[in-house]
Subunit: 219 residues, 2 copies
Amino acid sequence: MNFSTAEENYIKAIWRLQQSDANVTTNELAAELQTKPASVTDMLKRLSEKKLLHYAPYYGVTLTPEGKKLALNIIRKHRLWEFFLVEKLQFNWDVVHDIAEELEHVSSPELIERLDAFLGFPKADPHGDPIPDSKGRMTSTNNISLQQLSESQPAVVTGVGDQSSSLLELLRQKNIGIGTKLEIKQRHAFDGSVEIKIRNQPVINLSEQLAKNIFVQPQ
Amino acid sequence: MNFSTAEENYIKAIWRLQQSDANVTTNELAAELQTKPASVTDMLKRLSEKKLLHYAPYYGVTLTPEGKKLALNIIRKHRLWEFFLVEKLQFNWDVVHDIAEELEHVSSPELIERLDAFLGFPKADPHGDPIPDSKGRMTSTNNISLQQLSESQPAVVTGVGDQSSSLLELLRQKNIGIGTKLEIKQRHAFDGSVEIKIRNQPVINLSEQLAKNIFVQPQ
DNA sequence: AAAATATTTTAGTTTCGTCTAAATTTTAAT
DNA sequence: ATTAAAATTTAGACGAAACTAAAATATTTT
C-alpha cells in the first residue's frame, strides 16, 4: 500500500499527539497540521476507510496497528535523513527538520535500508530522538526533563522537546547539545528557572520553559 | 517560485524531447509522460501562464530561458542523487533511476549544494550523463555512438542512450560500463551488429540496436 | 435540566491534475 | 482543391485535499 504525502503527515501527527494523549481530537489535529477542523474530518474519514485508524465521530481517533506501523516507518525515515544531513552534509541540527519533512516521503524501502547501513545503523537522530528499526522497534527513552532533575545530580543531555529552530538555536547559543554533561546548581522558586553548570563554562541560567524542553539522563 | 512535481516532470520531459527535436508536440509529450493528449494541453496552458514555456496552440511548445533553467536544475538534482545512490549506497546503476525520480523533487537548494560538495563535485552520473552545475552549465558531450565508431579504433564508453533497466542490465551482463575500453573488431553488414573486444575478455557480439545506445569517446 | 458555549461534522466550493468524448484545426491524400 | 485522416483542443466530469459557512452534537455553566 502506498500513501500520499498528506495522508502520511496526518498519520505522523496523530502518532505524535497520541504519545501524550491517548485520544486525539479534531481540533488538536487541525492545530498541529496548520489546517481547518473541517479538512481534518474529511481526511479522518478517508484514513478510516483505509484502516489506518479508528474514527468515532465527535469522539476522536486512535491509530490501528497498521497506522502505527506506518507512523513509525515515516518517523524512521525522517530521523535517518536528519542524521544523514547533520553527519554527512554538515548541516546544523536546527535546520534539518524541514528538509527531512520532504525526504521522509520518498517511498523506496531499499533506499532506507541502505541509508541506515551507510550511516552505521544510528540509534538516535541529531536531536536525541530514537530511530525505530525496520520493524518499528525503538529503544525506549526513560529520560526525564531537566526541570525534574535534582540539584547537584550530574546528567547528560539526551534529547529536546521539539524541533523548532528557535529552541535549537537557543541551545546552540548556550553550548548545549546532545551529550552535553551538566548539573543543576540552584533552582529559583520564583520563576522556575534553574542555574546550571557545564564543565569549563560559567554557570548559566535557563528559564523553566527551556528546562522543560531539555531531556537528560542522570549519570 | 516553487513548482509541483507534476509541473517539474513536464518541464523535464519537454527539455529531453527538445534535445533531439526543437519543436515538441502534444502527442510526443503524452507518450513520454504516459498520459493523455488532453491532459498535456491543460498543463501546457498552465506552464505557459507561469512563463516556463512558449505555447502555440496546435503548433507545439518550446521552453523559455526560465523553463530551461528549471529543467537543468531538476536534471542536476536527479543526476547528483543517482551518483549518491551508486557511489555511497552501493546501488546497481540499473535501479537508481526511479528512486532519483522521487528525490529530484525535494526542493532545498542548500541540500543540493552540500550534496554536490559531499560527493566531490562529480562531473557525470553513473550512466555517463553530465551533471549541470548550479548555474545550469554542462560539459558538452562530444561523443559518438558505438555504432559510428570505426573499426580497430580504441574507445572508452562514456554514456548510454537511456536509463531503462533492460538496457542497463544487459550491459552489466556483458561487462560493459562507464569507462570500459573497447574496440570494434568487425562489423556485419547483414544486421548491423558489431564484434567488439574488451581487454582480457573474449570477443562478443552486440546488436545494432544495442551499439546505437552505447556512447563512446575515441582514444 | 435548560441555556450557553465549544467542538465537530455536513454541505457546498475551489484548485490541481487527470480523464473521456466531442469539436476543431492541421496535414496528407486523392 | 476537396476530402480523409491525424493531431490537438474544448467541454464537462472526477478524485484529492483544501476551504467557508451553516448545522449538529457535546460539554459547561448556571
